[in-house]
Amino acid sequence: MRHLFALACALALPVAIQAQQPNVQVQPPDLHGSRALEKLTESSVVHDYLESWQMLGQALNQNRADLLTADFAGEALGKFTDTITDQTKFGIHTRYQERGHNLQIVFYSPDGLSIQLIDTVDYDEQVMSGDKVLATQPMHARYVAVLTPSQTRWMVRVLQTEGQ
């Protein structure tokens, strides 16, 4: 009986996505001579980028646009804010459970004012209505991100999927 209950719980795992740290792989930068990238800068960019994913997940799960402002700016901030407005209107929220990131910095502008990275992300997107799960879809997508420096951190200005 106890075994059967454990089996039932195991099979039910996809329903309640378990919070876990994603597996992160960072490839060496591939900059094509645009500008040399200091190791410290690379670490900061990767850290801030991954943090922005966490905050985006929280914001879309709680429908709180205020959670976006520390990590996002420009187009990205506007688009994600609009999504939260629409989600609230439809009475839904979304959970993004990242399973893995495989990212690489591919451009650092000569003036040092923008940096671009490509990230292949594995995640589950779970659409909820209150506590009810409407759907869960596993996603494998290539994201393009553009970040610019602010006074204290790198802000995400573009975060866009290229496709599954």
């Binding site: 329903v15 999504t83 993004y96 004012l113 409407l134 759907a135």
Partner: protein, 290 residues
């Protein structure tokens, strides 16, 4: 309470129910849709339902008549990204994914150029990076040719065409030999963005001064101060005169005025007087009183 295997199976089916695609209604999703374009999603079944399309960048909901194609006019789904699509009939839910790709036609350029002011004749001194967006502010990641042009009041235009990669193209340009404003333009398919670059004279070149007596003092004056391309160095540039006499040193920092710096210093016979500006040292004079 004891539960038999059949009861447990029922529990599992209930728990997993949201993931089962409904048999009574289904939809046929296109693999990809171009951002902002019209598209439709055929459905099967009967009755009413709702379709929800949600991704990080956009969320939509429409009422649908099952069994008919759901039409989305142009301009409705416009943010590139991967979306979850949910067809909800009330009694069943089916779900799938939909990818929206950027439109291929550029509509805006985000052009970063630096610096806004720099000395003349500086190789690769100007840099520009242009991000290419469609009409809905999606980054167009397919390779596209972006033209960069730098034109000023003097010297030949510099033009380069660079193929974008992952939505961005960048280049470096030389500053012109003559001072003045230059237009730095990035363009693609009739879309352009312009930045003004001020090209200013560089450091002084061949700094020379002359001296003449003025009572007990000596009047020092530089020749018109030019950079190495012959451009007048801007007024206000500091020129430093230094007088050494018997182990004592006195200095005077003088701003250029109309290309020339002048100053009066004590005329001590046997003093040596030198002139410099920035990293450039000029001539030295030994003052003998005449």
């Amino acid at each position: 309470m004891r539960l038999g295997p059949a009861s447990l199976l029922s529990v599992l089916v209930l728990v997993s129910a949201p993931f089962v695609h409904a048999q009574s209604a289904s939809m046929n999703l296109p693999q990809t849709v171009t951002a902002g374009s019209a598209f439709s999603i055929p459905t099967s079944g009967s009755g009413q339902g709702t379709i929800t399309i949600v991704g990080p960048a956009q969320a939509l909901r429409r009422s649908v008549q099952l069994g008919e194609a759901i039409s989305f006019p142009a301009g409705v789904l416009y943010d590139a990204g991967a979306y979850v699509v949910i067809l909800n009939t009330g009694s069943s839910i089916s779900a799938g994914t939909l990818v929206v790709t950027p439109a291929s036609q550029p509509a805006t350029l985000s052009f970063l150029a630096e610096p806004s002011r720099l000395p003349v004749s500086l190789p690769d001194g100007i840099s520009g990076a242009a991000y290419v967006f469609d009409a809905y502010h999606n980054l167009i990641t397919q390779p596209l040719p972006v033209a960069f042009n730098l034109s000023g009041q003097a010297g030949a235009d510099q033009t380069r065409t660079v193929t974008s990669g992952n939505g961005v193209a960048w280049t470096r340009m030389n500053s012109a030999a003559r001072e003045g404003s230059a237009k730095f333009i990035a363009s693609i398919d009739g879309v352009s963005s312009t930045r003004i670059i001020e090209e200013v004279p560089g450091d002084p070149c061949n700094l020379t001064m002359s001296a003449k007596p003025d009572g007990a003092n000596v009047m020092l004056a530089t020749a018109p101060v030019r950079d190495c391309s012959g451009n007048p160095v801007p007024d206000g540039t500091i020129v430093t005169f230094t007088e050494n006499y018997n182990g004592m040193q006195s200095t005077a920092d003088v701003p250029l005025k109309r290309d020339i710096a002048t100053v009066e210093m004590p005329g001590r016979p046997g003093a040596t007087i030198s002139v410099a500006s920035g990293v450039v040292a000029g001539n030295e004079i030994r003052w003998e009183g005449h």
